[in-house]
Symmetry: C2
């Protein structure tokens, strides 16, 4: 049927035009202007109207808003542990928004449930957890949360029914681990004060001997080791804790071992790097985010465990109105953290169809190659100083004598790049994450040149963090 006016058109027919505008604008303006928040609210007329705007006008507004949003693809964005995109994954995610299936039952989500199962099987196999159990969660923090719940409830058997009797239990993790470990301990009733940070070595890896000492001393003090969380790819330095020796220590003292590979888990995609996670197959659970190194849109995270049946055992809740046909294996709602759940699987499945195992291997190796190039440029430049020997795709460094934090702010202000800073060995450093495989080495050289140019204009400053 012909539409009677332009405004009666289905807005979905305009997706092509808007997508094209957005893609064009990304390449023209890889770093969009920093907007003053108050001015943006007023100028873009962001407040909600009492009477609705005609469709065309509402779409105009939507266009202005997306065109004023920071670009996370391309040669200007190095600010996070993601960047760039696999376009087929984005296409699939857009289709998931149209399909709008909730991932709790086969009745409601159909084949999408099978895709999810296939991805979990594949990722479990890569992790050495074949025959284990896993689930998609809304992010790395939540994957860590799921693992911490399972570990807690396995350690103190009646926790799920009777509640967790907090007190003397201790969670061990590296001083360089992600903040979600401590945060989750607060959320889950374990207590943040019961998370003990084990010292890391020069390049950011947890020291197994220090873990052993800490556990022995805690046991002597009457405390109860609850779980050990290792990190594969720490947030700032990109370090990989040595899983195998840590598992040996942890298992000697009977604690669950969780591996937070939200960032570095993708090392498993390449034989050349899988050794960074030696011992993973002996661990109990594992977090892996595909929305970081695997190039799919946010969010796509899995929690995997070596032990079959864990997710059903700890997350299942009867709901007759929901789970009513098909076997439970086809109803992920019986073992997920959530009830209604967005389809985060289709995008990863589509990318994996196009890339295959081989394409993902090349992707990871390319990311590493870029980081090696970047690192070598720093090594050979007397004005630049490497902050630690990088194990992975993150390179932390300083412009000698220049303030890392101010350089980053200024790069953003001048629309040159979005890049972040972190603290390494008590010093503020620029954190470069070579996560976008579409970059060229000359993109990286350009970025370094910009960083140096902005640094050169800055007054001398000491990056040592004093307080």
């Amino acid at each position: 049927m012909a539409a009677t006016s332009e405004t009666s058109c289905n807005p979905l027919h305009q997706v092509h035009e808007l997508a094209e505008i957005l893609l064009d604008s990304e390449s023209e303006q890889p770093v969009r202007p920093m907007l003053d928040p108050k001015a943006a609210r007023r100028d873009l007329e962001l407040d909600l109207p009492e009477s609705g705007l005609p469709l065309e006008r509402a779409i105009d507004k939507l266009r202005s808003v997306v065109l004023a949003t920071p670009v996370t693809t391309g040669t200007g964005f190095y600010n996070q542990l993601f960047g760039g995109r696999e376009s087929i994954a984005v296409l699939a995610d857009m289709l998931a928004a149209i399909c709008n299936t909730s991932m709790y039952t086969y009745k409601a989500a159909g084949v999408q449930v099978i895709l999810e199962q296939i991805l979990l099987e594949k990722m479990m196999k890569l992790a050495g957890f074949a025959g284990g159990d896993g689930l998609f969660t809304p992010g790395g923090s939540m994957s860590n949360m799921a693992a911490m719940i399972i570990a807690r409830n396995e350690a103190v058997e009646d926790s799920r029914e009777a509640g967790f009797p907090a007190g003397d239990f201790v969670v061990y993790t590296s001083a360089e681990s992600h903040y979600s470990v401590r945060k989750n301990a607060g959320l889950l009733g374990i207590g943040r004060a019961n998370v003990v940070a084990i010292p890391a070595d020069e390049i950011g890896r947890m020291i197994p001997e220090k873990l052993d000492e800490q556990i022995v001393s805690d046991l002597a003090a009457g405390k109860k080791p609850l779980m050990t969380i290792t990190t594969s790819g720490t947030t700032v330095m990109g370090a990989f804790d040595p899983i195998k020796p840590i598992v040996e220590v942890a298992k000697k003292h009977n604690t669950w071992v969780h591996v937070d590979g939200a960032f570095g888990g993708s090392a498993l995609l390449s034989d050349a790097f899988a050794h960074l996670m030696d011992g993973l197959e002996l661990a109990d659970s594992f977090t892996w985010d595909a929305h970081k190194m695997m190039g799919v849109p946010l969010i796509c995270s899995v929690m995997l465990t070596r032990h079959a049946g864990m997710t059903t055992k700890h997350f299942d809740e009867a709901a007759t109105y929901l789970f009513q046909q098909d076997e439970d294996m086809l109803n992920p709602g019986t073992r997920s953290l959530q009830c209604g759940r967005r389809n985060d699987a289709l995008k990863l499945w589509a990318a994996w169809q196009h890339l295959g195992d081989e394409g993902y291997k090349s992707r990871v190796e390319r990311q590493f190659e870029l980081a090696q190039h970047f690192r070598s440029r720093i090594d050979e430049d007397l004005e630049l100083q490497l902050s630690c020997d990088p194990q992975w795709i993150t390179v932390c460094f300083e412009v000698t004598g220049k303030p890392s934090d101010q350089i980053c702010d200024e790069l953003d202000r001048r629309q040159m790049a979005k890049i972040g800073w972190g603290i390494v060995h008590g010093r503020r450093v620029i954190r470069m994450v070579c996560v976008n495989p579409d970059l060229t080495t000359s993109d990286l050289d350009d970025l370094l040149a910009k960083i140096k140019a902005v640094g050169a204009e800055m007054p001398e400053a000491d990056n040592a963090v004093t307080k």
Copy 2:
């Protein structure tokens, strides 16, 4: 630059074609065939390849998969508490996938953070929580979880640091409440056994006097009331607990009151129905899912609280590498459950721009009108039997003497409709949710005719649940 071959094209250029195919197919086939899971896996070649498929072939596969996915819009889907779509919201969600901004900082997400704040302000105002606090979460279960964490930590002050000393604490909720209450109690270390179900009346509302009796008797037994969770729009019957009298009881005994309005919260959008939630402004926290009655794609859920500063107080965690410029109010990562977080705000913002307050009012009233029509058709039909007096847009009923569960399965098998069943007063009933405002009364009449026709072919059966 011209692409050198078709396969080197950016797949995003194909979104228009795929979206059109998907929309056409939805209208031609509002209920897609039920696929045998094993056959689907084989026939659609869902397994992941070692070598990647050429782009065209991968997109072909993606097309087959989305075309084999259950349709959740249109006249065939009544299976869940969502259905239909606001197309502009879907368009916005698709653009969010292209933008792929993580919602933790203003530096990374820019204006998107402001949209989120505007939506929270608006929804808090509607809830009577102006000046309070709120956050977007990945679903109603998680919104309830956030509220339960805050309530738990507020009740036992040192919980966040020292851990929650489970034992004598009790969570009160209605026997008809969502399963996430019990589930979350297990996840959060409170213990599922410490959730007490308060009886509901004939139409599914928690009985305040019963709550009072239970608390009084628990106190006498030395237990500690932790929180009370009321429901606005229960999952099966769509009942609204009487918030005001419940708050009076709960506050007398000093418990936090959370209102789970994941489904029914949208009653606030219409003056005509807001009274169903009288007393909400006296409650402490509130869950509201926009992905149910407000027609935006999954997931879009908020947890709101009347008390300023609660989310920062209970969810904040320092992370220098992340939060480094702009005031905290502009960095939602300092107060959300997650770290990396998908943009769930843009779609709701876009829909609200187009509908306005007035459009959302009409939407809710239309949903109610449809339910009233459906209910009246059941009232006047001697073969059909209403299971309870519906307060909201859910109508539960039986085809007299015919098995509700088998009727639902058969409707699905024959591609006539996807609709679910639930248990009301110990009987299996068909649960009809009139959540798609694009339906016409004759769509509903047709559906009833189909239900009766399928029922007529069924052998007599008793819907009483015996076990």
